[in-house]
């Protein structure tokens, strides 16, 4: 039989994912150290300037440097998605753990609550949230966190319910481990195989939802740049200034694919909940 893959698949995934992710990370680092242009400076002369040595990604409809804005966008998008996931995971972790650990009526209440939130179209909840508290980076993070927490609650709940009756957990409770320590120290690390993919999907979903909210005018406030906001602003200039939409799209693509590749690589390498034995 001829082996077509000279490089193990996980290495390929990790390499490509690593390259993509590190591009985004480098963009973030660069944005702190060196910003080629003021991301908010409007220059009529540079309106829709195509990519050149001066503006490597070109300029947008206000003559703002797309490269600088993409850098700033990296910072904001990653910030929003990471903290959105952290909030969703914290809330989901608390609710899901309580529901999964205690079961019974507590479980029923928590699940009906999270079902109700899930039955809401996610973007709608974010919409109401932003309408009440106003748009802005922090409110978006909270809104996204609230929208996505039920799915994390489910991951935690299912995981804990599965693990709760596993023998090593019984063993731990026999030797006298208290519930909180049991959940935090003994159970959580074992949830990682389920959590890693849902974190990755979560990060991607947060970035995409932020873009969707920006599209509805609820996302990151102008004049700040997030990739979603840039895409929204650029959409009516696709034909005359395609660079305004291409570069933020690529950045988003790299971010999400990078995450996806890395998690895929990790899960193949460690055989987390997968086919490979």
């Amino acid at each position: 039989m001829i082996r077509i893959t000279p490089v193990p698949a996980y290495k390929l995934y990790l390499t490509i994912g690593g390259i993509f992710s590190s591009l985004i990370l480098m963009a973030i680092l660069l944005s702190f150290i060196y910003m080629p242009y003021d991301t908010q400076a409007t220059v009529y002369a540079a309106k829709f300037a195509p990519p050149s040595t001066e503006h490597i990604f070109g300029c947008d409809h206000f003559g703002r440097d797309v490269f600088s804005r993409t850098l700033e966008g990296a910072r904001l998008t990653v910030f929003v998605s990471v903290f959105g996931v952290i909030i969703a995971m914290t809330l989901g972790g608390i609710f899901g753990s309580v529901a999964g650990y205690f079961g019974g009526w507590i479980d029923n209440i928590v699940m009906i609550l999270s079902d109700s939130v899930m039955a809401f179209p996610g973007i709608l909840l974010a919409l109401v949230f932003v309408a009440v508290y106003g748009a802005g980076v922090y409110n978006i993070i909270w809104a996204l966190g609230l929208v996505f927490f039920p799915s994390y609650a489910r991951v935690f709940r299912t995981g804990i319910r599965q693990l709760k009756d596993r023998e090593f957990i019984l063993q731990a409770s026999i030797i006298g481990v208290k519930p909180i320590r049991l959940v935090l120290i003994h159970i959580f690390p074992n949830l990682l195989p389920q959590l890693i993919p849902s974190i990755v999907i979560g990060l991607a979903n947060m970035a995409l939802s932020e873009a969707g909210m920006s599209y509805l005018g609820l996302g990151i406030q102008p004049p700040y740049a997030s990739w979603g906001k840039m895409l929204k602003d650029a959409q009516s200039h696709v034909i005359e200034a395609p660079w305004t939409i291409i570069f933020p799209s690529l950045a988003l693509l790299f971010y999400i694919l990078g995450l996806y590749f890395v998690s895929e690589g990790i899960s193949i390498r460690f055989g987390l909940g997968r086919h490979s034995k």
């Binding site: 490089v7 193990p8 029923n108 090593f168 026999i174 006298g176 481990v177 690390p189 074992n190």
Partner: protein, 555 residues
């Protein structure tokens, strides 16, 4: 007589290796196997896990995973080299000429299909156009006949049942019926009884033996249990480290093992059964038992919705005494309430009525709903792969009981961990290992060590060796024994292997349907069982290992 018949299957110089895509390496799993199987013969293959016995079976059947590669040899079946056949021809042999049964009877069936439709598939996928009577009704009656043939008294019920609705033994028999439908010449049985309890094991093995005779069927019987193989096989091949190291009649193997590994297997199988001088325990009336359980009832609530609950009683009026220093055996068929009893004793679930006292002191009175205190108890589980937290190091796991009870200083804790590791026979380097880096036996040692860390007065060992290879089983039993004697730790030892019970326990309790139906000294219960169930159990056990029992007796 069987020696004279023609060979059905000849395996020559067979080697197999696995390719690891991630590591880009290839490693051998079978090396140069040579054996043959004659018509009507039952050939046993024994060996520890990882020795290659299951892979041998899969290679013959052509069910290897994609990453496996046959590197040399041939498999002649009825004059044809199986390895040279194309995929389709090979597939046609399966089910038709070659039947197979597997270890895990629940997962061997598609949960979404009835038993009947499974068996029907065997017929339809080999439909022979020359048979004019091949229609659904005929097929059904054929299947029902075969189900009756393998001993079902109500074959129609089995036909219409889903796999989860029938017991493990029934599933295994249904599987056998399926393989026999097209009257194959070769049956490959891969550990067909390992997951079953003693009584059912005996039934299935007898069934196989009978079928082999009546169909003149060649059987390749794979097992890790030397004594079981000895019972039904005409010849036995011992596999070790990817190779067949010995191929002889059972008698020759047992009496004159030529390979050191065979000898080791025999030794460990026997050592379990060698009666040891057991602890002398004071069972006099004035001596209060360590644990006294009186009129204990327990069960579960199936919470439907918001409180409206349905109580499901599992334990009913259980009375049991456990004396300090003894090893008390507990036997009972699966589902009789053994697990619930251990849960109540360890305090994982409360009882609904009854009392538990320790050394005469009342600890829990479930009838009064008084806040109960736990007895200090350790628990060792059956599955060593599941009983250790896979994300923690061994050292961490051993330290955890001391850490949470804040028993001593950090350094002292480390010292005690090392001490405990050496007590259970593990080198100190293992404290930095993760559970998956350990073998099954090593993990079971760690599990025992964890439960010993808090010096409990009682350790409940729930089938602690049944998942282990027989050579390892003996070592673990030995360790339990040692701990019992040297540390005076009391054990409640749950097992369905009566010979194990007999060899290490002082007393035995028999449980059925949530009640303890019989308690007594080992010899009393085994020689003069008072209840029907007890006598059935004992009978099955002696049937199961007749020759090995004799061997023990003759020594």
């Amino acid at each position: 007589m069987t020696y004279l018949s023609e060979p059905v299957l000849v395996v020559e110089n067979l080697s197999l290796s696995f390719f690891d895509v991630n590591q880009n390496t290839s490693h051998p799993v079978l090396s140069k196997l040579n054996f043959d199987l004659r018509k009507g013969e039952v050939l046993g293959i024994v060996g520890d896990s990882g020795s290659g016995k299951t892979l041998t079976a899969l290679t013959i059947a052509g069910l290897l995973p994609e990453t496996a590669e046959v590197t040399s040899g041939r498999i002649m079946f009825e004059g044809k080299d199986l390895l040279k056949l194309n995929a389709q021809d090979r597939r046609k042999l399966l089910g038709d000429k070659i039947g197979m049964i597997f270890q895990e009877p629940l997962s061997s069936f598609n949960p979404l299909m009835t038993i009947g439709s499974h068996l029907n598939e065997v017929l339809t996928s080999h439909s022979k156009p020359q048979v004019p009577s091949d229609n659904a009704d005929n097929r059904k009656s054929k299947i029902i006949d075969m189900l009756a043939h393998v001993g079902f008294t109500n074959p129609l019920r089995i036909y219409n049942a889903f796999p989860h609705q029938i017991s493990g033994g029934q599933r295994q028999r249904a599987l056998i019926a399926g393989t026999l439908l097209l009257k194959p010449t070769l049956l490959i049985a891969d550990e067909p009884t390992t997951a079953l309890d003693t009584v059912t094991q005996a039934q299935i093995v007898d069934q196989l033996k009978r079928i082999s005779r009546s169909f003149n069927l060649s059987v390749l019987f794979i097992s890790h249990d030397l004594m079981l193989v000895e019972r039904i096989c005409d010849r036995v091949a011992v596999m070790h480290n990817r190779r067949i190291v010995e191929l002889e009649t059972p008698k020759d193997i047992l009496h004159t093992p030529t390979h050191p590994h065979t000898a080791k297997l025999i030794r460990s199988a026997r050592s379990v059964r060698t009666p040891k001088d057991k602890q002398r325990i004071d069972y006099s009336d004035e001596h209060t038992p360590l644990i006294r359980v009186r009129n204990l009832s327990a069960g579960y609530n199936d919470s439907i919705f918001f409180g409206s609950a349905h109580h499901h009683e599992v334990l009913r009026d259980v009375n049991i005494d456990i004396y300090s220093g003894e090893i008390l055996g507990l036997i009972g068929s699966s589902g009789c309430g053994k697990t619930t009893l251990t849960r109540v004793l360890t305090g994982l679930i409360p009882g609904t009525a009854g009392t538990i006292s320790e050394n005469g002191r009342l600890l829990s009175d479930f009838s009064n709903k008084k806040k109960s205190k736990r007895i200090s108890v350790g628990l060792v589980f059956q599955d060593p792969y599941n009983s250790l937290n896979p994300t923690k190091t061994i050292g961490w796991l051993l330290e955890e009981p001391l850490r949470i009870h804040n028993i001593c200083s950090r350094n002292e804790r480390k010292k005690r961990v090392l001490q405990m590791l050496s007590d259970v026979g593990l080198a100190s380097k293992y404290q930095n290992y993760l559970p998956h880096q350990l073998s099954g036996g090593q993990r079971q040692r760690v599990a025992l060590a964890v439960s010993l860390m808090l010096s409990p007065s009682l350790i409940i060992a729930d089938e602690p060796v049944s998942a282990l290879d027989s050579s390892v089983q003996a070592q673990i039993l030995e360790l339990l024994y040692k701990i019992n004697r040297e540390k005076g730790v009391t054990f409640l030892f749950i097992s369905h292997n009566l010979s194990v019970i007999r060899s290490i326990c002082n007393r035995v309790a028999i449980m059925d349907d949530g009640k303890i139906i019989e308690t007594g000294f080992i010899d009393d219960v085994f020689d003069k069982p008072r209840t029907l169930l007890a006598s059935n159990l004992v009978k099955a056990e002696t049937n199961y290992h007749p020759r090995s029992m004799r061997t023990i007796d003759s020594q």
